[in-house]
Structure formats: structure tokens, C-alpha cells
Amino acid sequence: MSDTLHKKSFFRKYLFSTDHKVIGMQYTITGLFMAAVGGFLAYVFRYNLAYPGDHIPLFGELGAQQYNSFVTCHGMIMVFWVAMPILLAGFGNFLIPTMIGTDDMAFPILNMMSFWIFLLSTIVLLASFFVPGGAFGGGWTMYPPLSAGGYTNPNPDFFKAFFSGASLMILAVALEFVAMLMGGINFLVTTINKRTKGMTPFRIPLVVWFINIATIIFMFSVGPLVAGAVMLLFDITVGTGFYDPARGGDPVLFQHLFWFFGHPEVYVLLLPAVGAIGEILSVFSRKPLFAYKTIIYLALLSAILSVVVWAHHQFVAGIDPRMATFFSVGTIIISIPFAGIFLSYMATLWGGSIRFTVPMMWALGFIGTFLVGGLTGLFLGSNAFDIYAHDTYFVVAHFHYTLFPVVFFGFFAAFYFWFPKFVGKNLNPALGKIHFWCTTVFFNGTFFLLFFNGLGGQHRRINDFSLFSNVVKEPYITFEKIATISAICLILSQFIFLYNFVTSAVRGKKAVKNPWDANTIEWVADSPPPHGNFNPYPEVFRGPYDYSLPGEESDFIPQNVPHTNENIPVLKVKLSVS
């Protein structure tokens, strides 16, 4: 390898790098920083919900407008500036080139630009907190007419309207989409075109498959919202009336455009995390992933179904009742492929030899908590019950039970799993386990009781419930307090992670090449992989999950080990568990 690649200045190496690992790191760290911002916002408004009107430590008084802004930005940040960069861009950048055995992305410069546009979008979003009027406070769904100021001014002053919370947020989201689209082009081309020798489609590890499926869903569904967001931006800044009912527009159109993207977005976030969990379960059960090919087909099926369920967010928006029935059926049917994927994951554990390492605990925690989120989705999928549950804390608890496991359990599982590989140092497992248990306990403490609040009729985005006699009574007030205290503990327990991260990265023990005895080829590279990852490129001879192959001494055979005569007739082996 040419030495010039190694001798670069600090700026070229860490800031304007085109290396996929550095870009992945940049995405992940930006995402974690934004998670801290989003977490702080959550702390502030959760505190306000438990103790309305009180002085909030580290913040002060929270007004109604600020409350709305904080709730809105919390949602926005967590979905678009935490989940997307970490799960899609972070995982994609780290894992795709190393797992398919190549040196870098197909278009490294595009990859770098993607990050810089993303960073710009982050800055625009953060800037929106400081414009007159504060950050946008109309819900993360940005429904017009509220986001367009109620169309009170058909001839807005462009600059004044442009530097408002709403339009800066839309601009930030649009920039973020552009960044992710650029990343997405890279992921797809890299996976299709740059695989190492012998890496046939069904030898690609599951997580790479899932990141690519997620990218396809993202690229397919985001277009209409980009168009819709541009229309909304013009409504705000130059006074067009695309969504203004008084001028022939239709506010419900934006809801359709938003949720046409918004619902598939859930699967965009879900799939990379689920893929990583699959890898981890297989490694620590010392067993092949159960029904690897079938899982891929199920994921493709759910990807297709995911674009025909969006209107379940609008059951009470006055859409055609027959249409609602159609979407209700779609919503409930999409539970089937996902149940298939999760049951296959559980089947992977059966007959295994299970090791409770830190990543494995996160993976199992993911399945356990996501189960609650997935099953409560069945309630909301039926449109009649949704009439009552829509926009209540039942919905809030439901989507936190799906997205929190996806974003944080999924990320932490992957983090503890791949940290030795990409940083080259070992993490402290004891701290990792404490972090896991604290997070799990306090996460459930935060959100489980909110299901009851929701069923009691507590509706969302209210900073002060004092007017509503149905919810200002026991036990709901106590539940709010428990939720808030748990949320604070949940945020505090992330400092364990931070401490572990920093100390391990600085003075942790040097990691070996393959600490978990895993098969996929990123473990063949050095830890951390040098620029160019592999030297020489590995050739792949087998699927990614040849664990505990009968007749083999070692219970794992990496993908770059050629077949010997004994273990070729894999499928003919007599099975004791069936």
C-alpha cells in the first residue's frame, strides 16, 4: 500500500477525510452529540410534565411556546439527526465496505460531501433555536397550516419568513435528506459493485442486506416529501398557497406526503438495527442465523408493504372510511413478516451455546423491549381503537417502545460488538453490563406507565394538564412523576457509556483481530482496519454463518476459509433438533 495515504495532516485525516471509517465516525459522533441535545430537551419537558410550572434545574422556567418547540425538536432531532446518521449512515459507512471486503465506498468524495451537507443541516437546525420566535413548535410532523403560520400573511417578507423556526427546520430536514440520498447512492453502488471475490449475494451478511433494503425504502419514499417540503417552504417564505385551504390548497395533501415518507422511515431505521442484532445473535449463539435467506425475503416483503400503510397515521383526519379500512388491513398485515423475522431470531437461540457478552445482552434486550412496541402496534393498527388512542400517550409510549430499542439498543449492541474492531481497543465489560441494566430498567420505567396514561385519555403535546379533569388525578400524576424520574436516571446512566467509551478509547487494552470468534470478513482485517482495510483482499468461500459446523474442530469458520472435502455437504448433515 502506498505510504502517502498514511501520511496526511490532521485535517486531511480526521476532518476532510474520504475514508469511510472516518466518515462513519464523524456521523456517529455527530449523532451522539445530537442525542445529547435531544436528551436534554426531553429532560426539560419531562420535568415540566411532572412538576408543571416549577423551576427546572439547569434550565429555568419553561413557557408554553418553548414547551412546544422542545417537544417538536426532540422528535425531529431523535429521528433525523440521531437515528438516521447513526443507524443508516454510521452503520452503512462502517459496515458495508468492511463486510463485503473492499477498501472504501464507491464514491469517496461524494461520501465526504454527504457528511458535510449533513453537518450543515445540523447547524441550520441548531441555529433555528436562536432566531426570533424560537425553534419551530408545531409538532415534528410539521403539518400546515400551523407550520405556515396559519396563512395569516399571504405576502410575507422573505427574509423575515425565511429566518423563522419553521422554515429553517424544513430547510434543515431537506438538507439532511440530500445528505442521506448521497450516502444512499454510495451504499447501493458499493454493495452492488465492489464486493470482493466470491461474495455472492447470499454470502453477504444480513446487516449489509438490511442497510441496503433500508436505503432503497428511503430513496423510494423520500422523493414526494422533498417535493412537499419545498412546497411548504415556499408557502412560508414567498406566500404561495399549496396547502392553504382558503386559496384552493389542501392541508391534508401534506399529511399524505409526510406519512408516505414518515412511515417507511420507521422501517429505514428499524432494518439496520435489526440486521446488526441478527449478526450478534448468531455470533453469541455459536449457531447459523436461523433461516437467513427467508429473513431477507421477509424483509423485502415488509419493505414493499411499508409503503402501503402510511395513512394509518390519519385515521381520524377525515380520510375516506374505505381507504382507512385498506390501510388498517395493510398495517396489521405488516406485523406478519416482522413477526417472522423476530421469531427466526428467537429460533437462532434454540440449540445454541449462548454467551452472555455485553453485545448479546443488548441484542436480547432489544428483542424483549421491541416485542412490547411491536405488539402494542396491533392495538393502534385497528382503526376503530385508533379513534380513541390517536394522539394520546398510548401512541407516545408505543413509538418510544419501538424507536428507543431500535435506535439505542440497536446502536449500543453494535457499538459494544464492533468497538474492538474499529477502534482497536477493548471496552470494559463490567461497565457495559451496568450500562445495559440501568438503561433497560429506566427505559421501561419511563415509558411503560405512559401506556396507562394514554388509555386514561391523556393527549399529547400539552404542557399543562391542569384543565383536564380526566387526567389530573391519581394515579396518572404519580405515573408522570415516575416517568420523569426514570427519564432523568436514564439520561444519567448514559454517562457510564460515555466514561467507558472515552477511557477505553484512550487507554483500553489493545484488541485482537477477532475477539468474538466471528465469521464475517471485517474480523479478518486488522483492528483497527488501516486505510484500505484489507491487505491482501480476502476471497470469500462460504456464507457468513458457518458456526458449529458438524465435523469441524473450531466452532467458527471465517468466510475466507476455503471448503475442505468434509464440510461441503452441509445440508445433508443429519440434524438432531428439528
Binding site: A64, N68, G137, G138, Y143, P145, L146, G150, Y151, P251, R286, P288, L289, F290, A291, Y292, Q314, V316, A317, G318, P321, I332, I333, I336, A339, F342, L343, S344, M346, A347, L349, G352, S353, L364, L371, V372, L375, L378, F379, S382, A384, F385, I387, Y388, L455, G456, G457, H459, R460, I462, F465, L467, F468, N470, S548, L549, L571, V573, L575, S576
Partner: protein, 235 residues
């Protein structure tokens, strides 16, 4: 502790029952899944099982347990769908009889109530409009009442917890919903769709009373509104 607040509408109980039915399916699925998840964790810990059993699960024979589970899931899905479809139809289909129509319009930040004027028809010149904070909407008990839902400037969502009714109000459109309340009393009307700064202060009351009291109430409304009515008649 009661899970749901008191139900006072004719269809509210169906929604509650729908919840409990789904809850039954979900609990069964949840318990089975937890068993399937935790059993191997205890039994197949690496201290007990040194070497895992190799099976890929690609054959139909291996996949059959999952197929069975998915078929059962699909069946329960469809039971839920059929059950909820009836309820959905009942709530969505507005009664066509000669019922009382009341207009409810969301504005920033209270609900505006519109009663039909002395001619008994809504959306005519002699309608009585009440537009103030904390105002009350009076409706008769045990009667079908049809709400005509509109919004002034931004989206709102009519939410009456005790009737289980929720419906978005969209500027430029009219959505209709109906309700038949079986118990006299005063209930909160809140807004469930974020509508601006004072979203959490958007609360009015629904007063359900006997037909006689309601008639009396409407009569006083007409009297209070009389000058406006006469002027509109002169026009």
C-alpha cells in the same frame, strides 16, 4: 384502578371491548414469545451446552414452527380486523334520521359552537354561535347528535375522552361525526392536535342534559340572540 375513564356514549363500550380483545391476543403472544426467548437462554447457556447444534433453518421442515406461528398470528390479525370493522363502520356511518345537528369549529384557542336557529336548520342565517373561552355545548341525553366539524385557521382535533370520540377538524373541509350520550353530566372537550401556543388551554365543556332542560337552554339562547335574528329576517 380503572384502565379507561368512564364511558358515556353508545359506541364507547365497543372501543373498550376491542381493546380488551386485542389485549387478550397480545398477552398470549407476549407470554409465548417471552418463553421462546428466555427458555434457550437458561437451557443453552454455554456452560451447559458446549457446542451448538448446527441447523440453518432454510428447509421447510425447520421453518414449520415459524410458519405455524405466523398463520396463527395472521388469523388473530383478521379476527381483530373483522371485530374492529363493525365498530369502525358504526362510528363512521352518520345516522340519517332527523337528528340534531350542531356545528363545532376549532379556532385558536377555543371551540366555537353553532346551534341551529329557530328554523331548526343549521348553516342558515339564524344560527346561534357561541364563541368564548370555557363555553358549554349543551346536548340532549340519549339522542343522536351530529357534529359538523370545521376549523378556522389551523388543524384541530375534537376529543371527548368519555365518549371515545376523536376527529380532526381541517380548515376548508367539513367532517361529520355523531354521538349518542347515555348519561347526563359535564365532560371535557379538548383538542388533540397541536394548534399553537395555547393548545393546552383549549378546553370547553360538553353538558349533557335531559331533553326538557335542553329545550329550555336553547330557548334562552334564542331570546338572547333575538336582535340578531330579527335583523337577519329583515334583510
Amino acid at each position: 384502578m380503572k384502565i379507561f375513564p368512564e364511558n358515556v356514549s353508545t359506541y364507547g363500550q365497543e372501543i373498550d371491548n376491542l381493546f380488551w380483545m386485542t389485549f387478550g391476543f397480545v398477552m398470549v403472544a407476549f407470554v409465548i414469545s417471552l418463553f421462546v426467548l428466555f427458555y434457550p437462554l437458561v437451557k443453552n447457556h454455554h456452560s451447559k451446552v458446549k457446542k451448538a447444534t448446527y441447523f440453518t433453518g432454510e428447509s421447510k421442515k425447520h421453518f414449520r414452527w415459524i410458519t405455524i406461528a405466523l398463520v396463527i398470528l395472521a388469523m388473530s390479525d383478521f379476527i381483530i380486523l373483522f371485530a374492529e370493522h363493525d365498530t369502525w363502520e358504526r362510528i363512521e356511518n352518520i345516522p340519517t334520521g332527523n337528528d340534531l345537528h350542531v356545528g363545532i369549529t376549532g379556532r385558536q384557542w377555543n371551540w366555537i359552537f353553532t346551534y341551529p336557529g329557530p328554523d331548526g336548520k343549521i348553516n342558515t342565517a339564524d344560527d346561534v354561535v357561541i364563541d368564548e373561552q370555557n363555553s358549554e355545548l349543551h346536548i340532549p341525553v340519549n339522542k343522536n347528535v351530529i357534529f359538523e366539524l370545521r376549523a378556522k385557521e389551523v388543524l384541530h382535533s375534537l376529543f371527548i375522552v368519555n365518549t371515545r370520540l376523536k376527529q380532526d377538524c381541517i380548515p376548508g373541509r367539513m367532517n361529520t361525526r355523531w354521538v349518542n350520550i347515555t348519561k347526563e353530566g359535564t365532560y371535557d372537550i379538548s383538542c388533540a392536535e397541536i394548534c399553537g401556543v395555547m393548545h393546552s388551554k383549549m378546553r370547553n365543556f360538553l353538558v349533557v342534559e335531559s331533553q326538557e332542560k335542553f329545550d329550555q337552554y336553547v330557548k334562552t339562547l334564542y331570546e338572547k340572540n333575538a336582535p340578531a335574528t330579527s335583523s337577519s329576517n329583515n334583510r
